[in-house]
Amino acid sequence: MNIAALASVSLQRQSSALRVWRGSCQADVWLAAAREVAEGGGRLVSLWGCDRRDGAGSGHFIVSAALATGDGLLCLELPLTADNLIYPDLTPHFACAPRLQRTIYEMLGLDAEGATDFRFWLNHGDWPGDYFPLRREASAREDLSGHEVVDYPFIAVEGDGVHEIPVGPVHAGIIEPGHFRFSIVGEKILRLEERLGYKHKGIDKRFETMPPLQGHRLAGRVSGDTTVAYAWAYCMALESATGIEVPRRALALRALMLERERIANHLGDLGALGNDAAFALGLAQFMRLKEDWLRLNDRLFGHRLMMDCVVPGGTEADLDAEGVVALLAQCNAIECEVRALRDLYDEHAGLQDRFIACGRVTPKLAARLGLTGMAGRASGIAVDLRADFPVPPYADPEVRMATHRNGDVAARVIVRFDEIVESLRLIRHWAAALPEGPIRAEMACPQAGFGIGWVEGWRGEVMVALEIDCGRIRRCHCHDPSWQNWPVLEHAVIGDIVPDFPLINKSFNLSYAGHDR
């Protein structure tokens, strides 16, 4: 479907290089548009709510759906009046909708009409069910203790020989907290149910009333391994809300950092994948490469993960001629080593035996469930914002998307290797021809505005929707692609055996922090 087909909604194009349209409509049109996008092969990027009432209690609640179409991103707002806080359920069209809708309810008390799952998702009993933290009247400083906490009702699998394994949230290794409830027969997984939200930090609430020019720091901490993507998405949203032009040199530096972040994470995960199959040699070697990579980040940009390097209007750190030389030299060195390690992985029979046909998500299943990002590309979903909707400097050179159709752990390993090589090519290209000029444009704090940032992070598309009112942030919604992919993981493991789960999980390596916010 294309944007023009939505004649009934008056749409406004966002003033930026990004193709984003925004409009407001009533429930029937909202649902029809979502259905049309779904049928046209589009996807739900994010779904969030906002309290746009003023202090006197008049005004609306808003439910916004960000829909990706062939033309760009369509942000459709559905206003809800206080006496009718119900919006249509999007589950029939988008498989990732239920958890987003459950979150909207516990944050704002807006109900999806027709939804079947009413369990709390991020609220683990830390606040009462009738307290909605993102409503204007909630200060988040109230005394919220003393309410009853009920057990989370997992869906039980019954039958002869079925038993449950509860795993987490505290794990035997140092990883993020999440709970996995397996129903198994012997070693075979019949069903996996995830329970997330252990890292809920109330970032959405923290954003409220923050000065817009400081928000990038918090956005960059939503998920530490994706800090550049989040900070860039936030800045993109802020810059399009104010309509300023970012210097070309700053854009090139941002893209360079984003690709460095992608490589760092792929290096770490490839090592960890080897280690999960007890191939510790892989871990040791990839970690060495990653460590070198992060140290150069520290040297060039002042932070190992490049936190706070992307700032509104440009970047914090510049690259001098000496830095460019070091960067190019490291690209060549790493590429050489990565190719050697790739041969090692490819030709290791024991490793390939573990990787191949493990945790398979077929392209058909991936399309139905809306798998996105790197994992999606390994299952034949050829979506990559860098190639589909390139913002400068991505159109030059064009990004060659890495895809695979097998959808198993081996395919995700291949896509990661391919993406490393491609990112190295991009870095080399930009570093060799960095545009001259300033790295930061002067930015004045905007009084009001709305903007969306949409960036292909290493996991997938990161989206930030920013609403500014009276010179302060009214609502900042950060969306991690893990929202789309966590439910797919539940399907990926069905029929596999329990000891293969860590490998499958690591091949996706989804974010807990980014999801729980």
Binding site: H163, E164, I165, P166, V167, H171, A172, G173, I174, E187, G274, D276, A277, A278, F279, A280, L281, L283, A284, Q285, R288, H348, G350, L351, D353, R354, I497, V498, P499, D500, F501, P502
Partner: protein, 315 residues
């Protein structure tokens, strides 16, 4: 029974208790070097044991006295196993008490105890580990027995000391039946000692664990005993492998001075064996758990072929 016999017996057990962690440390060091990492000190396992013995032991509320007793039983089994395996000398007063078949039984007793103890606390991982441990154990035991039968066919005895004495007196040559049995023994050792490619002793992934899942609930001195017992088991297997397939240099009855030769010989052979183990571990990935039956069936088959070769060729 002479005093030298008792000396070598006591020496064998003391040596095993003292050196088993050292072997562990050596293997870990080799693994680290081969992976290109800086290695922990060779004495790291001793430090671990020291730390664990000084820590409080926390026990699950639901655990029965069986849970507390199991580490002592397991440790006792392994110490006894080290006592009857000819480490330095073939003159061991304890040896007539238990032959090769009893040794397999001793390992089985330890396995049953640790598995029952794992299920005792009622956690999902304990049962998961116990199930996997028994699954591997019931496949490994026949293969180990078949290896011993091959060796005892050659020496016409199931007593370990006479097998080793007999083999040590054979002239240096490759015996096809022993070569088959040797490979089978290696496969069984990997499975029984929870090494890569069957299990991963260094894993932190609770869902893939076998041996580690069994002992997840243990802490403090109990865990120390189990870790020590695991080191003893590896030591016993290494000694067995050396005694059966490379016995030259071992001391025999009525020759106390030979112990002086046997000790460095054992050290050398152990060090080489540990390095080879580390090399194999570094080069391989852990196999899917349902490949383990194929792996151990191959071991069993090789041991049986060893037996058949002995019947056909008479060597």
């Amino acid at each position: 029974m002479s005093w030298t016999a008792w000396l070598s017996q006591i020496l064998a057990i003391v040596l095993a208790l003292a050196l088993a962690p050292l072997l562990m440390g050596w293997i870990n060091q080799c693994r680290a070097w081969l992976q290109g990492r800086r290695a922990p000190g060779i004495g790291q396992p001793y430090r671990l044991l020291h730390k664990l013995f000084h820590k409080e032991s926390v026990i699950a509320e639901a655990a029965s006295p069986f849970f507390r007793a199991a580490p002592y039983v397991v440790f006792g089994c392994m110490a006894l196993a080290c006592g009857i395996v000819p480490t330095l000398s073939t003159e061991l007063p304890l040896s007539p008490a238990a032959d090769a078949i009893a040794l397999v039984g001793l390992f089985a007793v330890a396995r049953v105890f640790i598995s029952l103890a794992a299920m005792d606390s009622g956690t999902a991982f304990g049962s998961l580990g116990a199930r996997r441990e028994m699954f591997i154990g019931f496949l490994a035991e026949p293969a180990l027995l078949a290896v011993f039968f091959t060796a005892s066919l050659i020496s016409q005895s199931t007593a370990l000391t006479s097998i080793v004495e007999n083999l040590a007196h054979k002239e240096f040559a490759i015996y096809p039946s022993l070569a088959f049995a040797g490979i089978a023994f290696c496969c069984v050792s990997f499975a029984e000692n929870a090494r890569v490619p069957v299990d991963n002793p260094a894993t932190h992934l609770e869902l893939t664990m076998i041996h580690e899942a069994l002992i997840l609930e243990y802490s403090g001195r109990h865990l120390a005993l189990i870790e020590w017992a695991a080191a003893l088991k590896l030591f016993a297997y290494s000694c067995l492998g050396i005694a059966l397939f490379c016995p030259w240099g071992i001391a025999e009855a009525e020759d106390p001075l030979a112990l002086l030769v046997a000790l460095p010989a054992l050290f050398g052979k152990m060090a080489a064996g540990g390095a080879v183990l580390a090399l194999i571990e570094t080069l391989s990935a852990k196999m899917r758990i349902f490949r383990v039956p194929e792996f151990l069936a191959t071991a069993f088959l090789l041991a049986v072929i060893g037996m058949l070769v002995h019947f056909l060729l008479g060597v």
